[in-house]
């Protein structure tokens, strides 16, 4: 097994928005682009996805039956970046950071999903799972 596979996930996408608009689309209108059909607890029954815009705010899906948490905001610095404590399933306790930076007339959006464990198989076994499973790890914002 390559050590590369446990590195943080990094993705970059360019959009024609200014950073403030890109940040707003990403955080305030999540339901307009999030693939809820395949990536949510309730699937097509999801009516909305809400990210509360403040440190300690919740990210959750909304259905007729109520709400289901996806994560908690650890850092909130519009329109530059935000960080989430990710609380879904096996990835519980990992972190997702999204950064927005102006590039030409548009915005570069960089996403990093980290905390899946180190490349050492022993670390994966002994501490990697602790990281992933710790449901409510106390973390400070940076």
């Amino acid at each position: 097994m390559s050590t590369m596979t446990t590195e943080a996930i990094r993705k970059t996408v360019m959009v024609d928005f200014a950073p403030a608009e890109a940040f707003a689309l990403f955080t305030a209108r999540i339901a307009s682009w999030w693939p809820v059909g395949s990536h949510s607890y309730a699937g097509e029954a999801v009516q909305d996805v809400v990210l509360e815009p403040t440190v300690g705010g919740r990210l959750y899906e909304v259905t007729n039956d109520g709400q289901q948490d996806w994560g908690v905001v650890l850092a909130w610095e519009p329109p530059h970046r935000f960080v989430l404590d990710w609380q879904i399933g096996e990835a519980r306790g990992t972190e997702v950071e999204v950064r927005f930076s102006a590039e030409g007339p548009g915005t570069r959006v960089e996403l990093e999903h980290r905390g899946f464990g180190s490349g050492d198989p022993r670390d994966r076994y002994h501490t990697g799972w602790d990281v992933v499973l710790a449901p409510f790890v106390e973390r400070g914002t940076r």
């Binding site: 097994m1 596979t5 446990t6 996930i9 993705k11 996408v13 360019m14 959009v15 024609d16 928005f17 890109a22 689309l25 990403f26 209108r29 307009s32 682009w33 999030w34 693939p35 395949s38 990536h39 607890y41 879904i88 399933g89 096996e90 990835a91 519980r92 959006v109 996403l111 999903h113 899946f116 464990g117 198989p121 994966r124 076994y125 990697g128 799972w129 992933v132 499973l133 449901p135």
Partner: protein, 96 residues
């Protein structure tokens, strides 16, 4: 796959396996659920690739599958590609 550890009992079973391989009977002793229930939970964890089992004499031992973590990462790698592509599409529609 993402719901395999969404259940509190399954998380307890998984936590128990961190200290080493266990049989269904050993796992059931420390939990307020029946052996068949433990077996059912182990089946879900096994299908998600999070635990594996092997025969040890007359009994079957369950253990954590270390590579399960890599599968979780790979799952999210594909997920974020799809999600960001949809984000880009939504931005393109809004900017016309």
């Amino acid at each position: 796959m993402l719901d395999a550890l969404g259940d509190a009992t399954r998380r307890s079973i998984f936590e128990s396996l961190k200290s080493g391989p266990r049989s269904v009977g050993e796992l059931a002793e420390g939990l307020p659920v029946s052996r068949p229930a433990v077996s059912q939970h182990l089946r879900v964890l096994k299908e998600a690739g999070l635990v594996s089992d092997s025969r040890d004499g007359t009994r079957r031992l369950y253990r954590i599958e270390p590579d399960g973590l890599l599968r979780v990462r790979d799952y999210f790698d594909g997920f974020w590609s799809e999600a960001l592509e949809r984000f880009r599409e939504a931005a393109r529609k809004e900017t016309g």
